[in-house]
Amino acid sequence: MNAFAAILRRDMLLAWRSRADLLISLAFFVIVGCLFPFGVGAEPNQLRAIGPGVLWVAALLSCLLSLHRLFAQDYQDGTLEQMLLSPDPTVLWILAKVLAHWLTTAVPLLLITPLMALMFDLEGGAIQVLTASLAIGTPILSLIGAVGAALTLGLRGGGALLALLVLPLFVPVLIFGAGSVDAYLSGTGASAHMLLLGGGVLGSLALSPVACAAALRISTE
């Protein structure tokens, strides 16, 4: 647990030191979100209909944008090598990094989501469902994304390649996440969607660190 705590602490510290980076991905989320009322025209019905989808897409993209930073810096300065040499199990500190990524990128989005949702004229219950779906769904994005980030480490065009690799796996999350709000609004209730997302979290929590560890070992070889 030594390495887990140390790396979690360090990554949070680094995030704090370069707050501007965090602000950028938050600003990105806000801007993508704000853009649609401009681009689509502000007809309330239409806004309400596309709102959850747009916010989910914005969150997904903003996660994607920050993913390539997950290991890149450590890889370049050799810290990653040192982490791989830790006597602690690799999956543990990978979880620490992913957790730090989620805390620093997704949580700020979660906090601002209700505000953004108001912009799309969503009502209270829908906002709650949307925020909850984001809260359960974004860890999946971070976990799966970590595997992609590890695989594309050091490859040219890494950012775009990463996007290509993980987007197919992100899409189901997006569908169920955005779908949950629809389901809620349509009266069928969002619990099935939430359960699926929850299953996704547990499943990716079990599998992705292992895949990620293997990918990191290959990438640093």
Partner: protein, 209 residues
């Protein structure tokens, strides 16, 4: 203690060296020598299980290091070419992180500060590593040596580069001490450095393909 059998290393489609067989005992100091690009760095990375060798195996206390990776890593300290520093963190923060990751016996604030002091960075504790000079960055990495007395195997890739003359002598003394207490030091360098301990030299050029 550390047994290397018939090791071969391949990079891309080029065979760098092959047939390296070694048996290293406690207290020994091994220098990997050879011209640029012969494969010294590659060999060190194989020795600490970061890279799979093309052929051959390495045993630590009789166990294959690739199979018992975590147990082996508990006994190894590796300092590579790169400084392994986070640019935005201070030397102290960096050192602490490294000590924690590597599970050094001593990894608290106090010990880290002392280590930095001994390596000559006592007054530079609050600057981000980004602004340090080349030699100072190197020293942050080397400060780990003072925390890692309990790790028997030290694997160092060009530890002397960028250090000034004083620092080179100090470092040599530290390595000597490690050998005295029964540690094993494997290093590369292109500089001539004087040690108390007798140095075994392995010239990789002799094993080149």
């Amino acid at each position: 203690m550390l047994q290397v059998t018939d090791l071969a290393c391949m990079r891309g489609d080029r065979l760098l060296f092959h047939g390296v067989t070694l048996n290293l005992e406690p207290g020994q100091m091994l220098r990997l020598a050879g011209p640029n690009g012969i494969g010294k760095t590659s060999m060190l990375r194989i020795l600490c299980a970061l890279v799979h060798p093309e052929h051959g195996e390495i045993r630590w206390h009789g166990k294959n290091i690739l199979k018992e990776r975590e147990a082996f890593h508990a006994d190894v300290l590796y300092l590579g070419h790169a400084a392994s520093l986070s640019e935005l963190l201070t030397p102290l923060e960096n050192l602490e992180l490294m000590a924690r990751i590597a599970c050094h016996r001593q990894s608290d604030d106090k010990a880290c500060e002392q280590a930095l002091d001994r390596i000559g960075l006592g007054e530079r504790l609050d600057l981000p590593c980004k602004v340090l000079s080349a030699g100072q960055r190197r020293r942050v990495g080397l400060a780990r040596l003072f925390l890692a007395a309990d790790k028997p195997v030290w694997i160092l890739d060009e530890p002397f580069s960028a250090l000034d003359v004083r620092a080179v002598a100090d470092l040599a003394e530290t390595l000597d001490e490690h050998c005295d207490r029964g540690g094993l030091v494997i290093y590369t360098t292109h500089q001539e450095v004087a040690f108390r301990t007798p140095v075994t030299t392995l010239d990789l050029a002799e094993y080149a393909a």
